[in-house]
Amino acid sequence: MFHWLEKRPFFFAVAVFVVIAFAGLIEILPNFAQASRPIIGAKPYSTLELTGRLVYIKNNCNACHSQLIRPFKSETDRYGHYSMSGEYAYDRPFLWGSKRTGPDLMRVGNYRTTDWHENHMMNPPEVVPGSIMPQYPWLFKNVADLDTAYAEQLVIQKVFAVPYNTELPTADGSKVTVKLADTLEGARAEALEDAKVVAADMKNQDVKDAIAAGNVPEIVALIAYLNRLK
């Protein structure tokens, strides 16, 4: 058998592939069986939150901040409940990260607030002495790209059947519906409404002016995203 194989490079290659593929299947298949179905309480991102997520990715926050709390006492003490696969069901792509230059942000919405983020993004060392995080002043001036986020929402709704406009159960037994507007104008209007709620807690004049003019600054979208990380 082996002598026969050793003399035939093509069939040898096939045999090698089969053996390695078998080992791979053994490892991969069980994970599909317990695929990351959304856990109770997971909900899709609203337009503003998804915009904030894009801002997060654009500014490469995930290079320094992870979003994955490991099941160790030291981590759960600091960051909250350990992460579960179902919590990432609507994350495309997930932002686990592999390096913590800054702290984990998986549940930052539980222990930081809008005003804290506002102070912090403008000048991190001012609120966290010794912080090496850079300043992000442009977030207060740049207008957020709601259109891309809305396009992404439409795509994931069609392609991945993400349940927008559907009643979803939450941990406390109530229902929640994440709305997705029918038109781009509708999505912009909804995002602006959400942004007004966030901006009400902010003090920056540029942000207030932008909101009054009907624009959503990137910082507002980003804070909306960070506040929902729970």
């Binding site: 002598h3 607030t113 005003d115 102070n119």
Partner: protein
């Protein structure tokens, strides 16, 4: 005596001498023995065994290279004239090979998958052990104010300092200054907007607009923020005019389940805010539900003590 063996003995002595010198530099053998720390003893034992094993194995193979001659049976295959001897697997390798198979069977049946080991289970066990240790270590802490304060300070640095600052001064108005009970701005904010965030401790909340005259609001703000000074007659009058005293008491001593104490920062007030969070003149503070009962009490005591210094 063979030159190789002589060299091996020399190297062994030199390496053991080096090990001894390292131990001496690290404080001597006595230090390791007296500490009762067997991990260090194991490390020393490991070093000695390593030296002996290394020289033995190296000497063996050097001598084999010097003395061995080619021999054995050739395998049937030959590749363009290059043959291969039929060598038995070395005993050690065979041992490791079969050992691995036995271990794999144990691992599959009793170790990982079938025995349903789970990382979460291990985490839960760890947490239980830790909680028990914590309870045992701090069993009497509620009766020891100094220790409680110390615990409160360490929790404060981790949980509260990011907003209130290491010295609890609020970092220039970014959060409440915890050295005082309440600021004028906060009093004004509450009078204008009401307050119903401390649901657990004060379920009724406080309605807005009990006072509407800016001068009166100013007077109350000064009176309350300055600690209910008896000579502030205007402030006291406005305080009564706004019916503040019916719930908060004549001198701001508060009323359980109705209204918080206003004349001093006390542990109950801190506890109330930690439980429900708040939304005040400066911004929003989240609730801190991640702390244990004892940790809560420690933070309450520490924050309450800040204003007394």
């Amino acid at each position: 005596m063979n030159k190789t063996i002589l060299a091996a003995i020399l190297v062994t002595v030199a390496m053991l001498g080096f090990t001894y010198a390292s131990i001496e530099m690290a404080g001597g053998l006595d230090k390791f023995l007296s500490g009762g720390d067997w991990v260090n003893m194991l490390a020393i034992l490991g070093a000695v065994v390593l030296v002996a094993a290394t020289t033995f194995v190296v000497t063996k193979y050097i001598r084999q290279m010097q003395n061995d001659t080619v021999g054995g049976k050739l395998a049937d295959e030959n590749w363009d004239g290059i043959g291969e001897y039929k060598n038995e697997a070395p005993f050690g390798w065979a041992l490791i090979y079969f050992g691995t198979i036995i271990w794999a069977i144990w691992y599959f049946l009793a170790g990982y998958p079938v025995n349903s080991y789970s990382q979460i289970g291990e985490y839960n066990e760890d947490t239980q052990v830790h909680d028990k240790k914590f309870e045992a270590e701090f069993a009497g802490i509620l009766k020891d104010p100094e220790k409680l304060n110390e615990m409160g300070e360490s929790i404060f640095i981790v949980q509260c300092a990011p907003c209130h600052g290491l010295t609890a001064d609020g970092m220039g108005g970014k959060a409440a200054d915890l050295h005082t009970r309440i600021s004028e701005a906060s009093v004004k904010h509450v009078i204008n907007n009401g307050a119903n965030y401390l649901k657990t401790s004060f379920p009724g909340g406080m309605p807005p607009m009990l006072l509407q005259d800016p001068a009166q609001i100013d007077a109350v703000a000064k009176y309350v923020a300055n600690g209910f000074k008896a000579d502030d007659v205007a402030g006291k009058e406005a305080f009564t005019a706004g019916t503040c005293n019916t719930c908060h008491g004549e001198n701001g001593e508060g009323m359980p389940m109705v209204a918080p104490k206003l004349n001093a920062m006390d542990a109950d007030m801190v506890a109330a805010v930690l439980k429900d969070g708040k939304k005040g003149a400066i911004g929003t503070m989240p609730a801190f539900t991640n702390l244990t009962e004892v940790q809560h009490k420690a933070v309450d005591a520490y924050v309450a003590s800040l204003s007394k210094k």
